[in-house]
């Protein structure tokens, strides 16, 4: 069972019901649950969207697109049914925040889905969880059944004339399905390959209807935003980055875990104070700030870095999914880069050639390199290959593979050079990586 952690600097908004038995509907209601959905039902679409815009909430899946704005793009009138789609496919290495939301507070996701449906005029919402999360799917399915039994879902929600249905869907193992259009393909019973955009999901999405798709953390934030008011939520975060974020700190820290901190919280403080510093009193070597696809940062780059979409972007990386992976001085960066690219090679759906071929060649090159058979030209080739994958694929998986690779090569070039000419790796024990 995932362990809960806490720190005095935390601002508990999304996590405030964690560990309080809120998976039970009566307990959730006792703790103020479903009040926001009722309020949203009374106030209507325009009010909801205005509150969301005022909240400054940006997509927690990683792209950071303003949620209120996304919802406002959905056409008011549509021939085809509209849908709300909750992305709980959580598969980015380093990311396990939605895991805790589904475990401790599944009704916040259901309530957020209802509110999103009211905002865009949808009658159906889907909550899609990765297949590995079976025990969480069972928790969410029970929560949905309980919400139906109470009349919070169904043909007359909360005794009104409004209908809203929720369907829980399981995946079956595929990182790519976390991409919004691939998720829609999967939900339509197909291989999870991405669709070309435009048209965007807000216009043509699931079953061809206008669709709002949001990350589970984004959706779980919605009831809290309506309860406290958009401006109050915005005030918790930093400029143009409203509210809090569930940061998942993993790797070589003393107290790994999910911490809810205000947007813009200093990364150094997050590692050294919130997560208790580097394990065994060792030295920090590097930080992957927002899941495995985000370019690595060096210790001097985190000194004054605030963790929000804009500041991390300015520093040359991305806030991504908020999965902070901390590396100490025992890590061989070449081996770490190889393990990262091995993942993307395994998960590339093969639809776009630059990604399918690029990830494969990067894995081959890095495997050879790490084994000590690299040449100086290989370093440039790895860089050239990664640069040529960028922006040339339907979905961001190609970029997600290329960006971290470029970061490792650029920032740790010397470490790559130290692997040349069959020299034994000076940074870590050489383990032959098993082939996934």
């Amino acid at each position: 069972m995932p362990r809960l952690v806490s720190h005095p600097d935390e601002v508990k908004i999304v996590t405030k019901r964690f560990g309080m038995g809120a998976a039970e509907i009566d307990r959730y209601v006792e703790l103020g649950g479903y009040e926001s959905a009722k309020k949203a039902l009374e106030q209507g679409s325009e009010w909801i969207i205005n509150e969301m815009k005022a909240s400054g909430l940006r997509g927690r899946g990683g792209a950071g697109f303003p949620t209120g704005l996304k919802w406002s793009f959905v056409p008011k009138v549509s021939q085809k049914p509209k849908y709300v789609l909750v992305n709980g496919d959580e598969s980015e290495p380093g990311t396990c925040k939605d895991h805790l939301i589904f475990l401790h507070d599944p009704h916040s996701v259901i309530e957020g889905t209802i509110i999103a449906g009211l905002a865009i005029g949808a009658k159906t919402g889907f909550i899609y969880l990765r297949g590995e999360y079976r025990y969480l799917i069972q928790i969410v399915e029970k929560a949905v059944a309980d919400a139906y039994a109470k009349g919070y879902l169904g043909t007359n929600i909360f005794g009104s004339e409004t209908e809203f249905q929720v369907i829980v869907q399981t995946g079956a193992g595929a990182y790519e399905v976390g991409e919004e259009s691939a998720l829609m393909e999967s939900l339509e019973g197909k291989r999870g390959v991405p669709r070309i955009k435009p048209p965007f999901p807000a216009v043509v999405g699931l079953y061809g209807g206008p669709t709002v798709i949001n990350n589970a953390e984004t959706i779980a934030s919605v009831p809290h935003i309506l309860a406290m008011g958009g401006p109050a939520y915005a005030a918790v975060g930093s400029e143009r980055n409203g509210g809090t974020r569930l940061f998942g700190i993993s790797g070589h820290v003393n107290n790994p875990g999910i911490y809810e901190l205000p947007m813009g919280y200093n990364l150094k403080k997050m590692i050294y104070e919130v997560a208790g510093g580097i394990r065994g009193g060792r030295t920090l070597k590097a930080v992957v700030p927002g899941g495995s696809s985000t370019p690595v940062l060096l210790p001097h780059e985190i000194e004054t870095l605030g963790m929000d979409f804009d500041q991390v972007g300015k520093a040359g990386s991305m806030l991504g999914s908020g999965g902070v992976v901390v590396l100490d001085d025992t890590v061989c960066i070449v081996e770490f880069a190889l393990r990262t690219i091995s993942f993307y090679q395994h998960e590339s759906c093969g639809w776009c050639i630059p990604c399918r071929e690029g990830t494969d060649w990067l894995k081959k090159s890095l495997t050879r390199f790490h084994a000590g058979f690299g040449t100086m030209k290989d370093i440039d080739n790895i860089q050239y290959l990664a640069e040529n994958m960028m922006g040339r694929t339907f979905c961001p998986l190609g970029d997600a593979a290329a960006m971290p690779t470029l970061g490792f090569v650029k920032k740790f070039r010397k470490e790559f050079e130290d692997h040349l000419d069959g020299k034994p790796c000076p940074y870590a024990k050489h383990l032959e990586l098993a082939v996934v």
Binding site: S91, C96, H99, E188, G189, S250, G323
Partner: protein
Amino acid sequence: MSTETMSIFSPALAAKFDALVLKYPLKRSALIPMLLYAQDEVGYVSDAVIEEIAERLSITPLDVKNVASYYSMLRFKPAGKYNVQVCTNISCMLRGGYDIFDHLQEKLGIGHKGVTADGLFSLEEVECIGVCCWAPAVQVNYDFHDELTNDKIDAVLESYKAKEGTR
């Protein structure tokens, strides 16, 4: 399909599938859940599973196979009764995921995707399973076991053996 007479699935699963195909705006949306639930019962996605699901969804067996082959949790041959899936992705790797994997290879005497002679365990190196903050972690079938050491994973294996009464 009359589930009583023709289905290869248990009556409970057949009834679940009958309801599942009616749940969505489009019937074939049930495909991926059906494949996974069928695998849970049958052990793998067999030809018979593919045939019946295709018929239930009015699509071709080839279409079903094409989709099934995309998803990494679906397999086309049996695994052990307890499928031990070891995460070695970055967060687990940093906290000893490969040590756990090596230990299990030695302990079970099988490699990646191997099955023990008694069919009780199979072993698989898998990508991120979403428990990064509690690494290193292993998933046995659908059960998560986190913050592992060699001793802890040994105890986990013993608990499954005990369930079988083969200790």
